[in-house]
Amino acid sequence: MGSTSVWGWHFDKHIVSTPSDFGTQGAKPTHPELLEDLAARFIAHGWSLKWLHREIMLSATYRQSSKPRSEGVQSDQSNELLWRMNPRRVDIEAYRDSILKISENLDPKIYGVSEDVETGKRRTVYAKLTRRGFSDVLRLYDVQQPLAHIPMRTQTINPLQALFVMNSAFIQDQATALAKDGRTETAPADKVRSLYRRVFSREASGKELDLGMSYLSKASLEQFAQALLSTNEVIFWP
């Protein structure tokens, strides 16, 4: 079970899709020999999780690109055979942290009491979760009841998450903070370039520059920053 959990964490898909039920009512492993082999060597290495992570991450399978290839899509669309890395949605913890980091609002303080994720600025591992409930934002992004046994989180994508991105004060605040940085630039093209470096850690393409400049002719830099924070690229882990 340790092997399938660590594997699932790296590949976004477990070898056994019911990772805490290996009994007759659980799913069959997709790669039984792999599971046997990893489990046996995991034990032989003294149950070292560090060894297990390293073994998986140094494999050729792990180091594949996630880009779709037509022959792969044709013969195995759901990537059962792992002909590519599984692209996936970033989980809410990493997503919220990265947005706070981009806007330079992230409070890196460690230890101490938990706080609300909609108003707080600390990392999402400090999110307040109680028996009675927790933030809607966490719920929208698939955090489940802390009281229940949840062997894995199913990542979903739905319009309610999009409403959070479009309308929440949290995202609007980060966009406002992000736009402050671009104000020191004077030319619109420089503003666009500066925000691209901040949000995506890369340069804007020619097409993206054009789109950005044309948008800035009729909208504010805050609105532009929010549009960038709303893109797939921010929440997609290729």
Binding site: V73, I157, P159, V165, N167, L211, N232
Partner: protein, 287 residues
């Protein structure tokens, strides 16, 4: 832009088969009375009352007595002769409009697994939900609202589309709340008017299409583009459809004022506006 607009609309493509069913409302009453007391008389239970059949393995978590028959009496109703217990006198009057299925069972005695079995046809929580299959098979009639909606007090309904594309996933509303913008968090934009918001979304989606062209076709990227589009339209449609104040007071009194009653009334409003599948949950989780 026409083909693209269609693609981005979040609407599932044309149905695979011409649908006979138009809509589905699922009322899932978690923690309800046993079927043996309602719709499923089991005469053998009375015959063997108190006994423990030796050929059947009846291991239970706590010590239990023998077989327990219902204490209610059953009668046949309507032309179909469906049997109802005395507990359901109202439902019995519409017997001929109902189909009662008595053949469902699970191989696990726990609530949670039974719930998965019911909604996903399997005890494995990774399978698509019934509403996902139905919206996948029948498409949608309303482009402003998701085809598959789940109404639940708090969050605990089944919504996953499993291995089906992300756009067939259920959208969950909280029926503890009664005003649309509370039922759906972040429904209204406090900063931009519709036109400015539209322009902002157009930019985001143009960038998303650039990104997708560079990466390649991907279910997640498609699904999120569709969900942004759907969310934009939902802001306006939801304010109207989910507003129970638009119902006459007489109707609201007939339904009652509990979260479940609100869910039932909303389910009706949603299917009337073209939503394909609405699941109404009585409670947020297992009893």
């Amino acid at each position: 832009m026409l083909g693209l607009a269609e693609l981005l609309s979040g609407a599932p493509a044309a149905p695979h088969f011409a649908p006979k069913a138009k809509h589905v409302i699922l009322l899932f009453m978690t923690g309800g009375r046993s079927q043996v007391d309602l719709l499923d008389p089991k005469p053998a239970l009375a015959k063997y009352a108190g006994q423990r059949p030796s050929t059947v393995d009846l291991r239970t978590e706590r010590t239990t007595a023998g077989l327990l028959p219902t204490t209610f009496t059953f009668k046949k109703y309507g032309q179909s002769g469906i049997e109802f217990s005395e507990v359901l006198p109202q439902l019995a009057t519409v017997a001929d409009d109902l189909c009662v299925i008595r053949s469902m069972f699970t191989t696990n005695p726990n609530h949670e697994q039974a719930r998965s079995m019911f909604h996903q046809g399997s005890m494995q929580i990774s399978r698509p939900t019934m509403g996902s299959w139905i919206s996948y098979g029948l498409g949608t009639e309303n482009k402003e609202l998701p085809a598959f909606m789940v109404l639940s007090p708090g969050f605990g309904g089944f919504v996953t589309s499993g291995f089906l594309p992300a756009q067939y996933q259920g959208t969950q509303l909280n029926t503890i709340e009664t005003s649309p913008d509370k039922m759906i968090r972040f429904l209204r934009n406090s900063q931009l008017n519709t036109e400015a918001q539209r322009a902002q979304l157009d930019l985001t989606q143009a960038l998303n299409r650039e990104h997708r062209a560079n990466f390649g076709a991907d279910a997640f990227l498609e699904g999120r583009i569709a969900s942004m589009q759907s969310a934009f339209r939902m802001q306006f449609a939801a304010m109207d459809t989910l507003d129970l104040n638009k119902e006459p007071q007489k109707i609201r009194d007939e339904y009652g004022s509990t979260p479940y009653a609100n869910g039932c009334l909303l389910a009706r409003r949603l299917v009337e506006s073209g939503v394909r599948y609405v699941a109404v949950h009585y409670g947020p989780g297992q009893p």
